[in-house]
């Protein structure tokens, strides 16, 4: 095995380290974001935010003085 292989291993190791850590960070961030949004309280809140507001109909009594 020639001395060139040391450089080859170094280059492949550095690349693997850089890429693997970046991929892992992206994946963990994705899982955290997904978990946070799918928490039951937030989901319930999102549903309630989209509900149409209730319209209360009240009977207006005619004013006796008029």
């Amino acid at each position: 095995m020639s001395g060139d292989w040391n450089y080859v291993f170094l280059a492949y190791s550095v690349t693997l380290l850089l890429l693997a850590s970046f991929i892992l960070q992206s994946f963990i961030a994705y899982l955290n974001a997904k978990k946070r949004v799918s928490e039951p309280e937030l989901e319930a809140k999102e549903i309630s935010d989209h509900q149409p507001s209730e319209i209360k109909l009240e009977t207006i009594e005619p004013d006796a003085s008029t």
Binding site: S2, G3, D4, W5, Y7, V8, L10, A11, Y12, V14, T15, L18, L19, F22, I23, S26, F27, A29, Y30, A33, K34, R36, V37, L42, K45, E46, D49
Partner: protein, 242 residues
């Protein structure tokens, strides 16, 4: 332009992502492992550079990607500037970060290859310097985007910087043809066909496709993360945010 408008809707993008992401991840794993395994163990050593030439199976695809991603950043920034598609803003931010990583990989692996081939890790050659400048531009875009709270203003600055930086992309690409450079000239795609023997060209191309799928997988994952984070922050009341 139709597909850009179609995917600009976050819900549609999430639905598209459900199918596209697994496909990209599988293609990335399959192509990269085949290409790198082929390049490391089956491709012959170069008659001049010896085994050090195997570094080029990661250096060249990373360098290609750094240029390809930069064009993506510029397009996304301009799309957000003109049409105000929020997803284009997210894409520009995430592509800038991924582009930084691939530019760094191309510079580091290039330096490691330089030692056995040229005798030094670094020379002040136009190709190397313009690639270093590309890394600086990527970092500049990231910092500029982070420094502004107003997304519209940030997008305008980022689009302007990205458009100005396009000149550097042409310098990186054509530097070895225009100037007298120590870096080798184009050899994969030339007007007379490829100058590389098929036994080395095939693993290089397979790895290059694999790296592109790694990029798409990362981009889709990170864009989806940003969308989820924005949705979460929209749902919180100001008191909860504190």
């Amino acid at each position: 332009m139709k597909w850009i408008a179609y995917l600009a809707n976050p819900d549609r993008f999430s639905r598209f992502n459900r199918y596209a992401l697994p496909l990209c991840v599988l293609s990335a794993i399959f192509l990269t492992s085949i290409g790198l395994g082929w390049g490391l163990f089956y491709a012959p050593a170069d008659y001049l550079q010896g085994d050090a030439a195997r570094i080029l199976f990661i250096h060249v695809p990373s360098a290609w990607l750094s240029l390809f991603i930069y064009i993506g950043v510029t397009l996304s920034a301009v799309i957000f500037w003109v049409w105000r598609h929020n997803l284009a803003d997210i894409a520009a931010q995430e592509m800038a970060l991924i582009g930084t990583v691939f530019t760094l990989i191309s510079l580091v692996t290039g330096a490691i290859w330089g030692k056995p081939s040229w005798g030094v890790y670094w020379v002040w050659d136009i190709r190397l310097v313009s690639q270093l400048l590309l890394l600086m531009i990527y970092l500049g875009i990231l910092m500029l985007r982070q420094s502004q709270t107003d997304a519209a203003a940030a997008a305008r600055f980022v689009a302007m910087l990205a458009l100005a930086g396009l000149i550097n992309i042409f310098i990186v690409k054509y530097s070895v043809e225009i100037w007298n450079s120590q870096h080798q000239g184009p050899s994969v795609i030339t007007s007379e066909g490829s100058k590389i023997h098929a036994s080395m060209l095939w693993p290089l191309m397979v790895t290059a496709f694999g790296f592109h799928f790694i990029f798409f997988s990362l981009l889709l994952t990170r864009m989806q993360t940003q969308l989820l984070n924005r949705r979460w922050s929209r749902l919180l009341t100001p008191q909860e945010k504190l």
